[in-house]
């Protein structure tokens, strides 16, 4: 994700979240030249890296909406996408839990909506049947709506996997690259201005998440539309203290799907989110009040959740479209060569492959040649994960590559080999957080205390940069400011 001499592309995609990378992956299978840019120091730093990690079934969105159609379609497509890209994905099924008589009637309403949306396999479970499936649930539960097609995914790995596959198929990714303006000729996009100079392009695909509205406004599209970012806070529990196998939702309200209690692909219980409109810019922060609210809501479903078993907390952001409740997926009338993807909040992740499919359809309708190259490779191979291997496999791996013989993260047992792999992979990490998210290093009991000095050393060596240039998440977040005994710059 480094330097670039090439300046001419067929498609530039602004925003390397899940939507951007999946579209980049689809386009990279064709003969076109693809550039994917993101203003952050790594891909997937926005909504895609901090969310509920659920592939929703699709009973919730209003029938007839894009959300309804693309969620159900996307849910189906994830099966193949996850398999081709070796993304951890489990079809766990999900339950909407009714706590009283009124809520139980709402399950029937949701069930009907789901049937209209063509969600397969929906069933309303009695209290008794539900309790045998999830013993930790509040015994006051009246019943649940079961959706067998819902699943859990590792969202960041999904972003990385799709991006790696896109790069393998010759897409170019530039991180730390912010779109600053558009170059237009006769109401047609001819290029973009960035902090790294200008690039020519025939198409600009705007998948910029919370900043999708400002790019639309640059082109004079929907001046009245604005993104209202919402913060969601989450808590993660120690897997050795509590575990459940299911994804549990409360009955939804006007405000959204509510605080869920779910398992993750890593086996931890996760609860969240709440929903709070926040000012942009700035990264979302966690608050004592918000986390207390999440815990209170979640214990209504699972009373045995205890604060003392919490091992991590985080906040994520959702690029909600405010009053515009549905996704915006469009080639605007007023300008040529642009596709806008905006207001992609929940179920955006679940819908991503279907959104990409829809974009391809739009482009074909617009006369683009999207014929697949014969030599494209649909597969991405997941790198080795040392701690998941058997003793025999570990021995074999270390024999082949001694770098896997050095443990750099003691809690999660991440080896130097995995860190090097995370840096050298096609959409490689350039930041400490990038390595953390790719390898799961530093996420355990010691939260990085042990690995910091070791990772700094490996990054400096592998990237060929001084330790003072190693950052946590891009310029301004340097981990080390100077060497000891060195004079402070005055």
């Amino acid at each position: 994700m480094g330097n670039l001499t090439e300046k001419k592309f067929d498609f530039i995609i602004a925003g390397a979240g899940i939507i951007g990378v999946i579209i980049a992956r689809e386009l990279s299978k064709t003969k076109n030249r693809i550039l994917l840019i993101d203003k952050e120091a790594d891909i997937g730093m926005g909504a895609s890296s901090a969310n509920s990690a659920i592939i929703h079934a699709g009973y919730d969105p209003i029938p007839g909406s894009l959300k309804a159609e693309l969620n159900v379609r996307g849910n189906k497509l994830w099966e193949e996408t996850a398999s081709e890209l070796e993304i951890p994905f489990k079809r766990t099924g999900s339950y909407v839990v009714a706590m009283g008589g009124t809520e139980f009637t709402m399950l029937e309403e949701l069930y009907r909506r789901g049937i209209t949306n063509s969600v397969p396999g929906l069933r309303i479970l009695s209290r008794d049947e539900f309790l045998t499936r999830e013993p930790l649930i509040n015994h006051l539960a009246r019943g649940a709506l079961y959706a067998p097609t819902a699943g859990v995914i590792d969202p960041f790995t999904a972003v990385v996997a799709a991006a790696e596959n896109a790069v393998t198929n010759s897409a170019v990714i530039l991180t730390g690259t912010e779109l600053k303006g558009l170059n237009l000729q006769d109401s047609k996009i001819t290029g973009i201005k960035t902090n790294r100079g200008d690039f020519y392009t025939r198409w600009l695909i705007n998948s910029a998440g919370v900043q999708a509205d400002s790019i639309m406004h640059m082109a004079g599209v929907r001046p009245e539309f604005s993104i209202k970012p919402r913060r969601g806070e989450y808590l993660i529990f120690d897997a050795s203290r509590i575990s459940l196998n299911n994804v549990l939702f409360p009955v939804p309200t006007d405000k959204g799907k509510g605080t869920l209690v779910s398992t993750t692909v890593h086996g931890n219980v996760m609860i969240g989110p709440n929903s709070m409109e926040i000012d942009w810019p700035g990264s979302p922060d966690t608050t004592s009040e918000g986390l207390a609210e999440v815990l209170k809501n979640a214990t209504r479903l699972v009373p045995s959740l205890k604060t003392s078993d919490v091992i991590a907390e985080f906040a994520g952001i959702r690029a909600s479209g405010g009053d515009h409740r549905d996704f915006i997926i469009e080639i605007p009338q007023v300008i040529k060569g642009m596709i806008n993807l905006a207001g992609i909040d929940s179920p955006g992740f679940a819908s991503a492959p279907a959104i990409a499919e829809r974009v391809m359809e739009f482009l074909i309708e617009a006369g683009e040649d999207l014929e697949l190259r014969k030599d494209y490779n649909p597969r991405r191979v997941a790198p080795p994960c040392f701690h998941k291997l058997s003793h025999r496999e570990k021995a074999e791996l270390v024999r082949k590559n001694p770098a896997y013989g050095r443990i750099v993260c003691r809690c999660e047992e991440v080896t130097e080999g995995e860190v090097i792999e995370a840096i050298k992979s096609p959409a490689g990490a350039r930041t400490y957080d990038g390595i953390k998210r790719r390898t799961w290093l530093g996420t355990g009991r010691c939260q990085g205390s042990f690995d910091y000095p070791r990772v700094i050393e490996i990054m400096s060596r592998e990237l060929g940069i001084p330790v003072t240039e190693i950052t946590k998440k891009g310029a301004g977040s340097e981990l080390v400011l100077r060497h000891t005994k060195e004079k402070e710059a005055v």
Binding site: P284, G405, E413, Y432, G476, H483
Partner: protein
Amino acid sequence: MKDIYDVIIIGSGPAGLASAIEAKKTGAMDVLVLERNSEAGGILPQCIHNGFGTVLFNKDMPGPSYAEYFTDEAEKYGINILTDTAVIDMTPSRHVYANNIISGFIELKGRAVVLAMGCRERTRAQIRIPGMRPAGVYTAGTVQRMVNIEGYMPGKRFVILGSGDIGMIMARRLTLERARVERVVEAMPYLTGLRRNYVQCLQDFDVQLDLGRSVIGVIGDKRVEAVKTVKVDESFFPLPGTEETIECDTLLLSIGLIPENELSLKAGIELDPLTGGPVVDDKMETNVDGIFAAGNAVTIYDVADYVSLAGYTAGKNAAIYAVKLKNNMIAYRHPNMIKITCGYNVRSVVPQYVSPETLSATGFTLGLRAQTPMEKNVLIEILAGPTVIKSYKENYVRPAEMIIKNIKPNEWFCPGIEELSVIEIRLIEME
């Protein structure tokens, strides 16, 4: 490389090295020490402050010199220390699996094993400080390693949370490296580290200490820009109107240590919830035969010399066990182990079991910690049932300072002591 060793020691810190030397002296033939760092000594090489060796050598040494004494001894006795080697699995039958960049993934068997993994630091996640996630939040030990071993300065203006020893020592160290330590903030109403460190590291360097305050927020997107602190009551509830925002670029956490025992759990070893380490007897043997434990993996010590002394005990008994096993003899555990329990104001005690034989014949070292400070005329009382069989006077007891007592043969005695199931220890403040 051999596959079978008399004694395998996991960790080469002050406990592990002492264990190895004593095991060898006691008659173990093959002693192997496994160390995950690139250098032997555990945490000692980064502890360049003094305060080591006062008990064992009657000398005031810095950490690296203290380590050097033990590594020199180990070399003299022909003890093999394998560095860059992380043990990642262990079974109750003492099979040890380790990863090394040169030897690869190795499987070893110890006739006896000593667990000397030390401890790790509590983190931001454990005390759940809300706010953003910028660069510049580190545990004190990590910064100690960065500054003293790697030669990096991670910040210019520090706030330190926690008045533990490492935090206070780092306040001095960072000041000497021309950083500014804006504040040391401690949630407890009293100091949690040693008083001498307060005098030498904070007072002497004009670093302000705020007792009864805690950090309740981290501000900054890319890098820490400030932390929010607040006064807290004795149940750690924030007192409204007492918030203070302190500008800084680094938050250093010195909020306690936790014995590191993930391996112990894999080997089926019982842990004491009060210490966080294995339950051990006076021989430092765990509930699993042939697996011994010593040092900060067992309980958090505040003086390294006592860590090494516990290592001597573990190493000696591990060697005795291994030699017996080699000669097809059954290692003996007394059928009636007496449990030592925590009475009034005692937070934890080590060892948790003692044999009547040890009480009458050899004596042992007892370590205990107080729950809350008692500042004058304290009595440590040893009880057999309702009867006080021994008491000791102390000028004060403080949670920060472990109380160490060398119990001589028959110092604790009452008729029928060999039949007792429990001995209780309590702390009493006299009027």
